[in-house]
Symmetry: none
Amino acid sequence: MREQENLLEELFNQDKDFTDKQKKILIAAIESFAEKGYASTSTSEIAKKAGVAEGTIFRHYKTKKELLYFIVEPMIKKVIAPFVIKDMRKVLDQEFEEFEDFLRAMITNMLLFISENKLLFRILIQEIPFQPELREIFKKHIATEVITRFSELISYYKEKGQLVDLSTRAIIRSVVSSIFGYIIARNILAPEIDWNNKEEMEQTIQFIMYGLKRK
Amino acid sequence: MREQENLLEELFNQDKDFTDKQKKILIAAIESFAEKGYASTSTSEIAKKAGVAEGTIFRHYKTKKELLYFIVEPMIKKVIAPFVIKDMRKVLDQEFEEFEDFLRAMITNMLLFISENKLLFRILIQEIPFQPELREIFKKHIATEVITRFSELISYYKEKGQLVDLSTRAIIRSVVSSIFGYIIARNILAPEIDWNNKEEMEQTIQFIMYGLKRK
Amino acid sequence: MREQENLLEELFNQDKDFTDKQKKILIAAIESFAEKGYASTSTSEIAKKAGVAEGTIFRHYKTKKELLYFIVEPMIKKVIAPFVIKDMRKVLDQEFEEFEDFLRAMITNMLLFISENKLLFRILIQEIPFQPELREIFKKHIATEVITRFSELISYYKEKGQLVDLSTRAIIRSVVSSIFGYIIARNILAPEIDWNNKEEMEQTIQFIMYGLKRK
Amino acid sequence: MREQENLLEELFNQDKDFTDKQKKILIAAIESFAEKGYASTSTSEIAKKAGVAEGTIFRHYKTKKELLYFIVEPMIKKVIAPFVIKDMRKVLDQEFEEFEDFLRAMITNMLLFISENKLLFRILIQEIPFQPELREIFKKHIATEVITRFSELISYYKEKGQLVDLSTRAIIRSVVSSIFGYIIARNILAPEIDWNNKEEMEQTIQFIMYGLKRK
DNA sequence: CATGAATGAGTTTTCATTCAT
DNA sequence: CATGAATGAAAACTCATTCAT
């Protein structure tokens, strides 16, 4: 995986219009939103952290909410969806003969992406329960796009006889739960533990493929 | 499971000192906290919803935060822990010879419990990222208590030769992820879908036990 | 005219729910709005003048605009309209045989009323150009109600052969202009002059009835 | 009346130093001030409407208030006063033998002038109550200059035996009220009505000269 | 000349909390 | 016990004005 997947840097690089102060505002906002949540973060606090006058924030983002969306939308829109889709293309192009190979590639990608964008990811999952509009965008882009593609893919491997006879929905849910379970445990519940990424990942794949029952 | 597992009712029943107004305050607070989050819910809003004067809230709970803890602590303290522990005793008392039987009992219990306490559950998982003190309590009671017991239990079934050779941590994580994945999908992500509880549960157990790989 | 026509006192008397602070807020707001205009008066200024915390204002009036409307609406709604209408009834009840008698009564009433409610009157005419909603209310209550009644009355005296052959609209406009011309000169343009009310009024009536041309 | 009486155009013509941007700023400011009032118009709004950067406004006018004065002063100073005085000279030069002729000429002039400068006129009468400095200028130029001249003129016609025996002040007030009553009704209160200018004017003159009493 | 980012003081409004009744 | 008026600190947001480019 050569590409730099840090969304914020990508944003700063591709759009040269960002003032130095503007960048500082974004960084400060991201840190505070991730730590204390959108609702408990005051604009004066962001301003102080960014070393900027409070008015400056509102020069760039009409409202505090606009600032949140500006931070969180790219995470959903421009990235997550195509990100997953990329891997799916490879599958259909026979790049992954075995489902397990696909799984390994996808997990690797997701872990890398999320570890590069930890704070953005935290904000996203923390705010989705409270921001109906955000939830809508999320549903449209994830629930619709990703689930559709993922379903096709599951069907593909099912037809190849590689997968057990569970409903596609249950399979997707199980895979996603297992992956996000790991991500959340690692990044949110117990970030202080020194995780052995490689092994945990391998065990997760093991679990997804073979379950817990000893043969 | 004969017992009524609705925490709020239980609370109201066992403690006769609750005024009518006090109950209304709790119900209103729970609804609002679940829907908009603790930080975005104002006490005046709760008062209005409860049909109570603003001051009345503070007669019963010194601060807004105390109100939150009052709501959320029983969920953690008095209930979750013993709840799980109860089942574990049964295991150790040879009630569940097979891990799968234990799993089935535990999932059934949890689903019932959470469907009875949907709002409390939402509040809990939504606020944990923002309330460090809550997180501490949670960690102490879940991470410590439950994980310890659960680990013993996993070891027990491992020794009986029923479980695959993954690290205990990975097993716990996988099981918990799979269950919570279902609960969250059902109750938070897509509550509008008409879920076939029984079948989804069975498929989840199936997945946990046997994985996705076709033999 | 026995009746007390001070709108504010009337309001305070009839509605016993007014707190002392609430009255002070209204008085302070009226003074400031009259002097500097709605837009240039800050709520903090009103609070200071009323000897009240700024929050107290918003306890009683959700927004600054609501405070303005609360002050200015009674002036339009409950008072001006019926005020004029009262006199009109007397006309139709043959109380005023001559148009001039009616005119004298109406002018006396208006002058009294406005001198009792100088500040409210100032606010009203100063803000009408800027508050479209206010303008709407004003139009509905004055333009519709009053003009209709006034038209009937003019027709009545026209039929009696007492009035010159100008369009009803022009007559109304002329009478109203003459009266308001005096009121505004007296109360807004040159309040420092010591006006001889009685004589000025008589001259105004003289002008309205006989014009400027010497016979 | 051959002369172009549009103050703004006159200003732009005589002073060639006006940049295109400067003109746009003035036009935008005039529109906004007239519509929403000086206090409720923000400089950023003017800048946006003028298609100009915020700073550009302050390049030309040190403060927002200076911009207002720049707009409104010519209306008072350079124009109103000499405008009326011009007619008065003609009177004294025996151009108008009858007061009615003078009246007709003056009203025609004023209506034309105001219809050419509607927005400026609106701003002037709307802001006078709020801008003490403006009120001073106005008083000095109108109250002093115009009233003095007008008084002489009234005395002149009085001596000629053409005018009724009212105080000069009452006469001035009545004439001015009648004219402004029409102007305000036409331009501010009910601009949507399709006024028959010629006839309304004639009726106004009729009223001023002969009053309402049928002979 | 023109720009527009930046400012900081000020504005309206919200809110948890207190307290006299 | 309950009320709701009152508070004041802080929140979000606005705005005239400055200044480096």
